[in-house]
Point group: C2
Chain length 353, copies 2
């Protein structure tokens, strides 16, 4: 650990620049290595970590690489965290999130947390200084849920949410993991209503976690009609039973014309189309399913920027296309409230495991 | 050519589905091969082509592949158009645009064109049925400007703009090529003003073609302050001389903190940040240069969807991020009007050649 005088040499930056060791001048997410000292800068918070939730794509890559050998997976995770000072899979670039208890709060922290709060971090592990202190002795490497003991540091500009007492931790984490989507959907439905027009909202991938939350958020924000698009009858039955959509329709989202026709027949075109299905090639269909002057919100990380931009231009489609931002103030509380209020959302989350 | 009865068998689809030969059911842009028959469906328009403007990335790839051998480049372009029925470079996926004269207008065409109109198509060549009839005999393969004789077909839902009489064709084409950017910028500045707040607008890559138009559009739409960001002193001098920005500042847009600091010192953060610089890695800086609740419009095809989405989340940044759609109704006229009204825009376009 560096002497205190060294710490004073670098001023804290709200985005964590002061913790970047190499290369100089990049953001923590782009850094090769972070400074993991336990001492806090005045705007930081230290968390005693009890569990890491590795990003699913990251865990799958590790599992594949090591042929499912739990010891080898564990050794690699330890090595990554030791050398990088954060859990960022160098292959997938992804991280995950963590659960823990607030251990110390810097006197200028703006996050509003108190020592002892049970929290989940909603910023990625890819930018969070992390030290593992138990050599992952309680993890067999067989799942992305990693029980551990160690600490992590949050910067001034960061996001952590208190875990609720009335919802099982794992369920709350699943909700928080996708909570940006319903919050942004609700915001855009509300903007339509402010301009005097209750929108038709179509959600692509509507029986999934983010999809079901978006449907619930759209209806509660005052959508005129909600359309849930799913890929096959099994999901359609689940979604119908959940009662979250005014109309459930089946289409392959990668087939632009099938998607357009399905949404149109279900009461579209949509004023707002929300893409929650994590497969490539849905850009054209989402644009075609959307009314002129409508809005498409892309939440899928499989979205291609150029396919969306060139696709809309090629279709002469005057639609507003949004990159789904995972951060909207209050997003975790909003999503947990939807889970509490809508039994159908909870059913779908529990069906997804 | 197919007999007329065959043509009647397939109903015209405004996005051109009826012209897709293989694979079945995809949009024309994704098709391997289009139907190039000269006969028109009722909502189509046929253009007598006088020139193709190949996409710069496509031409560079061809030039590199053939070591600058003009005959080989010409042969490959002919072969692509012959086999695919459109000019879509299979390596880059990109096309370009064309200039020609309206030859025939279907009686149900919604495009408002008349026979004899001198037009440029603003939809990509990647989805435009095209036949070359002169074997490119007048092109030596040495530039992306391809004089030719042949025909192309526009669908019901397409975009073509009449070429103005008072502006040289090549200059008008350069303007039309990027005309979506100023139109979308103007729309979002106007929305801010409607909500009672004249926005600060920062344009990254401000001395370029789309950048200079965006600056001019922002000012004319009522921005409170316009900030032009350029990479070095040479462009700064050009932009200062053009008089399009209230403040010109120099920063490497790939360096998030440098970009944030430069925009802040120039009177930011920006309410609207417009990214026009075509290099990867500008997402984080654009987000950091933007005020809370602000808007980032990404026009660069080098934008990474996931870098933008994860970057904003990692920075806990509540910003609206837009995928720059190249189509906004009236965009070509708006951009040409900016060129006419702002000598500084014309100077910068002419400096870029």
């Amino acid at each position: 650990m560096a002497p205190e005088s060294a710490l004073r040499d670098v001023a804290a930056d709200p985005v964590g620049l002061h913790r970047v060791l190499e290369p100089a001048g990049v953001l923590p997410q782009q850094a090769l290595r972070l400074d993991t000292r336990a001492e806090l800068w005045p705007d930081e918070v230290r968390i005693r970590v009890e569990r890491l939730n590795l990003d699913a794509a990251s865990y799958r890559q590790l599992h594949r690489k090591h042929g499912g050998d739990g010891d080898a997976i564990r050794a690699e995770v330890l090595e990554i965290v030791r050398t990088r000072g954060k859990m960022q899979n160098p292959e997938t670039g992804s991280g995950g999130m963590l659960v823990g208890t607030v251990e110390e709060v810097g006197d200028r922290s703006p996050l509003g947390l108190d020592v002892g709060d049970h929290v989940a971090t909603l910023v990625s592990l890819t930018l969070t200084p992390l030290v593992i202190e138990d050599a992952l002795a309680h993890w067999d490497g067989s799942s992305e849920q990693v029980p551990t003991d160690g600490y992590a540091v949050l910067f001034g500009r960061s996001i952590a949410a208190r875990l609720p007492d009335d919802i099982p931790t794992q369920l709350a984490l699943s909700v928080m993991d996708v909570c940006g989507a319903p919050a942004l959907t609700a915001r855009h439905v509300a903007r339509y209503r402010e301009s005097g027009h209750a929108p038709v909202v179509a959600v692509i991938g509507a029986a999934g976690k983010s999809g079901s939350l978006c449907l619930a958020a759209a209806r509660r924000s005052g959508a005129a009609r909600t359309i849930g698009v799913v890929p096959h009858e099994q999901e359609a039955a689940l979604l119908r039973a959940a009662g979250l959509a005014d109309c459930v329709t089946i289409a392959d989202a990668r087939d632009p014309l099938a998607l357009r026709d399905a949404v149109t027949e279900a009461g579209g075109p949509a004023d707002i189309t929300v893409v929650c299905v994590d497969v490539p090639g849905c850009e054209g269909g989402a644009v075609l399913a959307t009314a002129a002057s409508g809005t498409v919100i892309f939440f899928s990380m499989a979205t291609s920027f150029s396919a969306a931009a060139l696709g809309a231009e090629g279709l002469a489609a005057d639609v507003t296309m949004l990159i789904g931002n995972g951060f909207v103030p209050g997003h975790a509380e909003t999503a947990l409230d939807l889970l509490r209020a809508e039994p159908g959302v909870r059913t779908l989350f529990e069906a997804r495991g």
